[in-house]
Each structure stands twice: as structure tokens, then as C-alpha cells.
Symmetry: C2
Subunit: 443 residues, 2 copies
């Protein structure tokens, strides 16, 4: 166990109000903090970044369609006029449910209510070699890394004489047939079809494979059969090689080894095959399901621990229609946060809490321009209309008028020009002088 | 000397045309390459980045007003329809003027004409300790680093109990009273006056010093007295502490030591005090001035070496009005490139070359909203009109309609809201798994 910080987090204003500490500024944590803006609580929001990340559009950052800033929003800005809400950039370490104390890298804090909304990270299912060589997509920095990697692979490929030797730099293999994998594969194929050949006229893009590998028999497992079939058809129209019922065995940075099939050469293996909840020390074993989610009751409260709540990807709550828990998607996180917000307000008024019931509002995924699939509770549709629906829903969900405006212009521009213009290899190239070796040696 | 690459750069298409190799895609190199788009030459443009950087706006990236992508432009995109222009991302190492061969990290290339337009880097005047601890501003990555550093300093400052101990995190010291220093100081003061207090209500911003140190007796040394006086007045109105005739002696990462004055606590020393030309091996000592610039004749040709040209910050060319060479500014680089472009076209037609004469079109600097200074050959003005002129001229100079549009919206937004919204600490936090220690150890 990490040694806990022995001092309280400094400069937290004294407040007579009960303290709600929220761990994580993702969909659930941010929604709850906003919901409690005018409630009689002191709300302390903690996140390891100083911004909220809009995960559904990471894949567009990776494929040079959007800037990281367009889908990130400074958390402090959201609470400019909320004196009861305090933000701290911090990494949580553990909590003591008897003392009501949370330990972080900047000190400890005492809570009345603790809300764990830490989200999930990439799951490599124990394969260290894949973890070592593949690239995940769970933060905006990782998405930017994917973009930089692909561009620099092409700048390297162009300097290789034999086409045979360029293969592993040009091919892109994506593992995982969920929305991230499907959207990434579609966008990558469009880059290959429309954008990259203009940038690299010396290279033959017929040799660039975009492969999507899924272990199960279907893409978009949680969606309708119509959506599954259409998304497969769309990907094939764009020239993506889709491999269903296919298991990746291993990856050594050069070759993807596949069960029962020929291996594929690539230096770019994008891993979107699974997630695992982020972990915080403080609960005993019986609170965890084998997949790392924390059991909660119908109020999102950890069973047997009053005042400790879990939201979103980390929470495992069963309902009649969800005997294995809710899907780990944004909609669930948002609805749980909304419900918990109401319940905390009810508590402050001495009223009863309401049980959470998930209402599936539908789901959607986009494969490429004019190619998307939408499942609503009352209807399903695909193609152009689905694509426009997808664009509209995501634009509305993005925080901030300016971000909306910039994304709208970016999308309109990319649509009209068939060209995403953000192919900039702006790498963290600058190494602070104090970390530069030659200077350290000279000193 | 670096061992030269022994193979030619691969995949350069064969061409019967004479080859012009341009080193550097800055103002001069890019202008020349565009000028030669339809000329009877094979043009090979080399740069260590895959994008052109618009240096005059680096300071706005550093102060969270603009995104790096807004002031960067992919070089490949510019030459989509120019089959005679080839771009390669490469670092040059040396050249052999007898063999007409340029060596780079991706191989060598034989040229008929070589154009050196490598620009300049930060000059620390030999002070290793300042180089070690201070932060430069000569690339867009460095500008982004400044932004991240300032934001993370504030996130750290808020966790420090005693105001006294927060000082070095909050203070910002800028060295160099040229346009970069003045513009940076003004923008930093505006951040302190308008933006940061909203983000960090717990901190007292009266304690944040913004200090601008200049060794000479005047700010904006190259401009008119009116502009110098006004810029000083504007900075003081914004609350910048301007120290003229002041020399920084040393810096240890915590304290700036100043000749004959009290030292200043800061962890953020921004160094904009001087530049030195980038160096390439291949010329003998007599070609260099003591400041590292390369002597050229009136055609920008290296004296005594036919077919080797130098443009921009690296070139040292004297004229009647410029006995010590032209100022190292964008205007000179652009005009020299224009002239050399014409001359190379003339050469291809068997016509005479024209001598270069610099025409000073004026200069300008902006200190803050509605506060700028403009010197034109026929008039000088300051204030609101100068500010609008500055905005218009820079907007027009930016490459690409989309970049213009985004910058325009950003500026309009910041103007109306008194709030630059890009306060995102999107750091290169993601470390590729293969570089992560714990994984390497486990493997």
C-alpha cells in the first residue's frame, strides 16, 4: 500500500456544509458536481487532469480530424461562479471508510459523502507483451499519441526503398469491435482512401491494410442486428478487412500473431478490446466482482458502507433487465449521476432516496461519412440520416459553445474538403533543459 | 563531425530538371518553395518538423490564447498539386560544396542549388545555468511547454499553505525586451488580471509579479521612440514590472540573480533575450561572422561558392543602410526568398540575377487588448487602431483559410469574454508502454 500523505489538502475553505468528495471528472463525476452546484454541500472534485475529456470523440483526435482542445474542457472554468465547488488536480490513493478520510498525492481530506467515479482504463487481459507494444486509446493524450505515431510512421515509410519493407509501417491493425474499434477503423480507412495519398504521392496506398479484429462473432455486440450488419457492410465498403471470431494471440511490435490465421505485419496495433475499472485502495475483497467493478445497491451506494457511492464504469449494480450490471457507457454514468445528485439533495432535505433505474435511450456508432447506425428504443435506422443524427447528438453533448462551434466548423470543413487538416506532428519534442543529458553532463 | 549517411535519400523521383534543395520550411524556405512551384526545377524541401510554424504568434500559444494547430500548417498539404516539389522530414548534418552533396539523417542528396534557410535558435550567451533552468520560446512545442508549465505551477501553488512559499510558483519573469518579450509580458499580465483569478479564487493575484527584464535602455529597440514609449506605458498600465538597463546574472531554477538589484523568486524564467543561427557543417571559418551568421553577397549567395544561398536569420548581407546586416525578422526572410525565387527563375531562362534590396515595410507589436504600436514608413500610430491593424496583418499572414477562421473566432471570443479557454494541461503524459519502467522490469 502507498504511504498516505500525512497532511490535509491545504487551502480548502472552511465550510459549515457537509462535504461531498467526488473522485473523477468524467461523465459521472462532472455531471454530479454540476447537479450539486447550488445544493447545500461543499463539493470537492478531484481529477488527475485539469480538464474533462469527451471520450466518444477520441478516435477523431487519433485520425487528425479534431484537436485535443476541442474535446477537452477546463474543469475550473465550469465552476467559476460556484463558490461551494472546489477543484483539485490530484491522484487518489486510498480511503479509510471508518475515519471517512480520503488520501491523495496532495494530502488527505475528510468527507461526509464519498463518490467514486474514476472510470476505466485499458484492459490487456494479462498479456504483458501486447500491453508493452500496442497503443491504447483511453485518454486524449493517448489519442494524440496515436495520431503522431501514424504520421511519423508515414514519414519513415517514405524513406524506405522496397515496398515490402514498408508494410509494417503502413498497415494499421485495430483490435476490438466495439464502437471505438469500429469508428477508429472507419476513420482510418477514410484517411487512407482520401487524405494520405495526397500527402504521400510516392507511396502506393493499395498496400496499406486497415484490419479490424474482433474476438466475438459480431461487431457492436450491444447493438441491434441491423446495426451490426450495416456497420460490417460499411467497413467493407471502405476497404477495412474485418476479422470476426478471431483472437489475437500475441504481438511483438512487428507482427500480430493470430489464432489459426496468418500473422499481420504492423508497427501500429491499436488496442480497443476491453476496459477495466480504475482501482482505489479501501474496500475489502467481497465488494469487488471478478471484473473489478464494485457492487452497489439501487442507490449506487457500496453495499454495507453508508455514504460511499460508486458511479459509471466502476459501479456494478443489477436490475431486472441487467442481471450482470449495466453496460459501461456514458449514458449509464450520466443517469446514475443525475439520480445520485437528486438523492443527495433529498438527503439534505430529509427526504427519501430514489432507486436508480437505467433507461436505455439508444446507441449509435459512425463508420464514415454518411455511414452510421442508430438504435433508438422505438426505431432503428442507418446511412445518411443516422450519420446526421450522430453528428447532431455528439455536437450537443460537447461542453461549451466555443468547442461546439469549432467542432462544427471542423466537421463541415472535413466534409466539404475530404481533408482533415490536422496532420501535424507536434510532439512533446521539447525536453526541458534540466532533463537534457548533454547539459547535465556539461554542468 | 557527424558520420554522414552513406546512402542517398530513397524514393526521390528521377527528374531531368536541376535540383534545388531548400533546408528549412520557415518563412524563407517555404516562400521560396512556393515561388518555385511551377519553375523548371525539382525542389526538395527539408525540415525537421512536418509543418510550418508561424512564429509571431508563439506567445499566444504560451498564454493559452491559441492552439498550436492554429499557427502550424502541414508542409505536405501546401504541395499537394506540385509534383516537382518534394518534402522530406529530415535533419541536415553537413554538406560538401565540392561534390554538391548534402548529408542528412535520412541519407544524402545531390543538389545543383543549395539554399540554407535553417533559421535561428535561442541564444543563452554561454550561460549554461540559464540554459538549464529557463524556458525558451523558439518552437511551437516550446510555447506549449510554457503554457503547461504555468498551469501546473498554479495547480501546485494552490496546494501550498503559506503565501510566502507560493511566490516562486506564481511569479513569471521574462528576459528580453524585443517583440516576443513585450508581447509575452503583456499577455501574461492580462492572464493574471482577467483569467487566472476566476480559475483560482483561493489565490491572491496581487502577489503574482510579471517582470520584464531588458539589458538595454529601451524596449523594442528596433522601433520608433513613440512605439518604445507607448509600449512601456502599456505594460505599466497592465501591471508589468519593467526593468530596463538590467542584466540577469544567473538563475538557479528558483531565484533570478540580477546585477545590482534584489533577486526575484520564480520557477518560470522565460528567455527571449537573443537568437543564434542554426549551424550546418560545410563552410570554413571565414564564411562566418562572430555572431554565427553566414556572409552572403547581394544575391544571397555565399561569397565564393556558386549555387549555395543563405536566407533569413542565418544570412549576413550588408547594404548601404544596413552595414551590420539586415534585422533577423520575418520580413527580411520573405523578401530575400522572393528575390532568390525570381533569380533562380532568371537563371533557368539564362537571364541576369537581380541584387537584393530590403524594403522596410514597417513593424508592429501588441501589448494587450486595444494596446499595440505600429511603425509604418510613412506614419506611426498606437492604441486601438494599431491593435486592429496588428490583428488584421497577422490574420492575413497566417497560412490557410481554416486557420485564419479559427484564429479569428478565438480572438473574437477572447475579446468578448475576457477569457482564453485553452487552459488545458494536455501533457505528453502518455508514455509509450515500451518505455515504461515497470513493464520493462516485468518482462
Amino acid at each position: 500500500m502507498v504511504v498516505p500523505e500525512e497532511l490535509p489538502i491545504p487551502n480548502i475553505p472552511n465550510s459549515p456544509l457537509p462535504t461531498v468528495v467526488i473522485v473523477g471528472g468524467g461523465f459521472a463525476g462532472l455531471k454530479l458536481a454540476r447537479k450539486l452546484k447550488s445544493a447545500p454541500y461543499q463539493v470537492i472534485l478531484l481529477d488527475k487532469h485539469n480538464y474533462h475529456q469527451f471520450q466518444p470523440l477520441f478516435y477523431q483526435v487519433a485520425t487528425a480530424g479534431l484537436e485535443p482542445s476541442a474535446i477537452s474542457f477546463p474543469l475550473r472554468k465550469i465552476f467559476h461562479n460556484s463558490p461551494n465547488t472546489i477543484f483539485r488536480m490530484a491522484e487518489v490513493q486510498s480511503f479509510d471508510s471508518e475515519e471517512n478520510r480520503l488520501y491523495t498525492n496532495i494530502g488527505y481530506i475528510d468527507y461526509d459523502f464519498l463518490v467514486l467515479a474514476m472510470g476505466a482504463d485499458t484492459n490487456y487481459f494479462g498479456n504483458k507483451s501486447i500491453e508493452y507494444y500496442s497503443v491504447p486509446m483511453k485518454t486524449v493524450s493517448e489519442a494524440l499519441f496515436v495520431r503522431n505515431k501514424i504520421i511519423s510512421n508515414y514519414e519513415r515509410a517514405i524513406n524506405i526503398e522496397l515496398q515490402e519493407n514498408r508494410k509494417s509501417l503502413m498497415n494499421v491493425v485495430i483490435v476490438g469491435g466495439g464502437p471505438t474499434g469500429v469508428e477508429l477503423a472507419g476513420a482510418m480507412a477514410e484517411l487512407r482512401n482520401n487524405v494520405l495519398p495526397k500527402d504521400y504521392p510516392e507511396l502506393n496506398f493499395d498496400n496499406m491494410k486497415v484490419v479490424l479484429i474482433e474476438a466475438g462473432p459480431k461487431l457492436l455486440g450491444a447493438m441491434s442486428k441491423e446495426s451490426q450488419d450495416h456497420s460490417l457492410q460499411y467497413l467493407e465498403e471502405l476497404g477495412v478487412e474485418v476479422m470476426l471470431d478471431t483472437k489475437v494471440q500475441d504481438y511483438d511490435g512487428e507482427e500480430v500473431h493470430i489464432e489459426g490465421k496468418e500473422s499481420i505485419s504492423t508497427q501500429t496495433l491499436l488496442w480497443a478490446a476491453g476496459i477495466k475499472p480504475n482501482y482505489i485502495e479501501g474496500l475489502s475483497k467481497e465488494h469487488y466482482a471478478p471484473n473489478g467493478r464494485i457492487f452497489v445497491n439501487e442507490f449506487n451506494e457500496v453495499s454495507g458502507l453508508e455514504g460511499i457511492y460508486v458511479l459509471g464504469d466502476v459501479a456494478l449494480q443489477t436490475e431486472e433487465n441487467f442481471p450482470k450490471g449495466h453496460p459501461q457507457v456514458a449514458q449509464v454514468a450520466l443517469q446514475q449521476a443525475e439520480n445520485l445528485g437528486k438523492n443527495l439533495i433529498n438527503i439534505s432535505k430529509g427526504q427519501e432516496m430514489k432507486a436508480f433505474h437505467y433507461k436505455d435511450l439508444g446507441s449509435m456508432a459512425t463508420v464514415g461519412r454518411k455511414r452510421a447506425v442508430v438504435d433508438l428504443p422505438f426505431m432503428k435506422f442507418q446511412g445518411m440520416m443516422a450519420w446526421l443524427t450522430w453528428l447532431f447528438v455528439h455536437l450537443m453533448a460537447i461542453l461549451g459553445v466555443k468547442n461546439k462551434l469549432f467542432i462544427f466548423i471542423d466537421w463541415a470543413w472535413n466534409y466539404l474538403s475530404f481533408d482533415s487538416s490536422l496532420r501535424l506532428l507536434i510532439k512533446p519534442k521539447y525536453v526541458r533543459a534540466s532533463e537534457r543529458k548533454e547539459l547535465i553532463e556539461e554542468k
